[in-house]
Amino acid sequence: MAGGGVSTIAVLGMPNTGKSTLFNQLTGSHAHIGNWPGLTVDLMQAEVDLQGTPAQLVDLPGIYDLRGHSDDEAVVRRFLESTRLDLVVVVLNASQLDRQLRLALQVRQLGLPAVLLLNMADEAKRFGVSIDSAALAEELAMPVVLLSAKYRRGLGEARHQMAKAISRGIGAQAAVAHLEACLAEGDDALQRQIVQLLESSVTLPPQWRDRLTRRLDGVLLHPLLGLPLFFLVMALMFQGIYAIGVPLQEALGTLLDSFGQGVIAPLIRGLPAFAQGFLLEGVYQGIGTVSAFLPVIFLFFLAMGVVEDSGYLSRAAYLMDAFMERLGLDGRSFVLSLMGFGCNVPAIMGTRVMRDRGLRLLSMLIIPFSLCSARLNVFLFMASVFFAPRVGGLVIFGLYVMSFAAAIVTALLFKGRFSSNEPLVLELPPYRFPTLRQMVGRAWLEVRHFWFWSRRFIILGVVAVWLLNNLPFGVEPASAQSFSGWIGRALMPVLGPLGINPKLAVALLFGFIAKEIVLGGLAVIYGQANPLALGHALALDVNWVQAVSFMLFTLLYTPCLSTVAVIRSESKSAKFTWFSVLWSLALAWLTSFVFYQLATVLGWGPLGVH
């Protein structure tokens, strides 16, 4: 892909070195996803101007060792073997040079032109690690820059050294040949070289200086207090996200709605009624459904970024690991499932922190059972219609218990199929204060990614349901004569035994797009826009046993098309995506069936489907 006078620079580094932050700082968030021939993963890349030299920066996956056995390590090797590079930027954590110098030495062994950037220099200084960068540069025979990407220090010098290294070069080097043999040759001397480099240019503190981390860990990882504290922090976080996010989502929804009615509707007034409805209620509301999600997703990634970058996420993994290990998962899967109680979509995207594919897929399989806010809306409404307030609260609590139970049962059933062979060895980084700028930038990137992926998918889905409701031409929308009415009746052999009548069946069909549409769908079907009137109509048509069966089904089946889309994009497997959708449908059907039939046998609620 290099050529036309543009230099290609690869950014290589270990995990937890702030490499992505540094990449974003160097490229000013112009990064986009690039496809590289022969690679199975997407790499972020950006075109930048390095003091007059146009260059293309490619962010390689974080790896520990060029000779390592993980997927990411294989990807980096393939990249180096197939790409002509002008420069490799090696990013290391300055305070952990004692083990990270290995990567810089391996790059040197390959004979690639390199610049070494020692990130988190502020932290190294605080911990009493002092580095003689001039001596290190001389011994390694590559420029060394101490910097802090988080506090934006040393970035100018880094750019300067990168530009200088490129201008010194003689055009792009050939891709590395015989990479593995070349690395193997240098391996024996590696440990000796590291010791030698450390002796000549790095002074390590005689004792660990990070007393803040030591003290915080004493409390936060306490065998008794650790978990309750963790749950408290999580509860507060969810409260915060909902206190801010839900009003924002509603405000944005109202805004988009009035824009549609006030601006778009007059614009398309000249068109036939069917085309008007299609554009406004189909296409425009499809876009609106996706957009209204964005504030909550942004807040989620903001909160998740803080939890992760502060170092608490790895601690949560430590606290929950004993329990999760027995389910074939690990501590991180638990944290992500908790995230899923807000919205499943960012939680599934969050599984990227896992390297092992089996573990990642099993986590993606259980996250959709987390009772998300959209489902909670439906349950709060149904509970208020069918139960007295005190009982209603118990019903909602019961649904939360069911949500956990479904995740645990799923993990136990499939842990053999998605077994993870990667041992859990995680770094517990020192506690850090994330900067607001960094967190906002990161959340923004995630939101862009979500928008890019899900818009086509959701819009198509919403348009399809609208068409089902309004075809054949001239029918009353969502009536028994419409296609969706036919489908509702056609589903009766399957859904009838669960106590779900044709009208509820159509609502469930809407719910496949997004649970936000379920209440709106019921309103259209029962012809009652006012929630109170809708409640009355519903209570006349359905008894409480049927209502609970409907809620159980709603809880367990596919949360929404966004979730399906994101499972597809993250797993990169259509087969797994189908499996996930079908399993959740099967579990939903079975649970509702058992509940409804048992309740019928026990004589709860009047018999029969209306």
Binding site: M14, Y64, D65, R67, G68, H69, S70, S95, Q96, L97, D98, R99, R102, F127, V129, Q191, L204, Q207, W208, T213, D217, L221, P223, S314, A317, Y318, L319, D321, A322, F323, E325, G331, N421, E422, P423, L424, V425, L426, E427, L428, P429, P430
Partner: protein
């Protein structure tokens, strides 16, 4: 205090020197990349309850690892000559 044979059995506060990594190449590689290699001093910081993970420090890096994986890290025999760091 005598040093146990494996990292999995080290008591909180106790330090030891790593003698060997007896793991498959994949795990060995990962452990070494995180600093757990032959000749390094390792200190046990805490052990989670209910057979949960271990929290250790090696060099300038703190790690959590499962007991099964820590049982692959062999320690040099001998007394613990280093005092417990406060």
């Amino acid at each position: 205090m005598r040093t146990p044979a494996h990292l999995a059995d080290l008591a909180p506060g106790q330090s030891a020197t790593i003698a060997a990594i007896e793991a498959n190449p994949g795990l060995r590689n990962r452990l070494e990349a995180l600093g757990l290699s032959r000749g390094q001093r390792v200190q046990m910081l805490r052990r989670a309850w209910l057979a949960g993970p271990l929290h250790v420090r090696v060099g300038m890096t703190e790690l959590m690892l499962r007991r099964a994986d820590a049982a692959r890290v062999g320690l040099e025999a001998g007394l613990d000559p280093w005092p417990v760091a406060a």
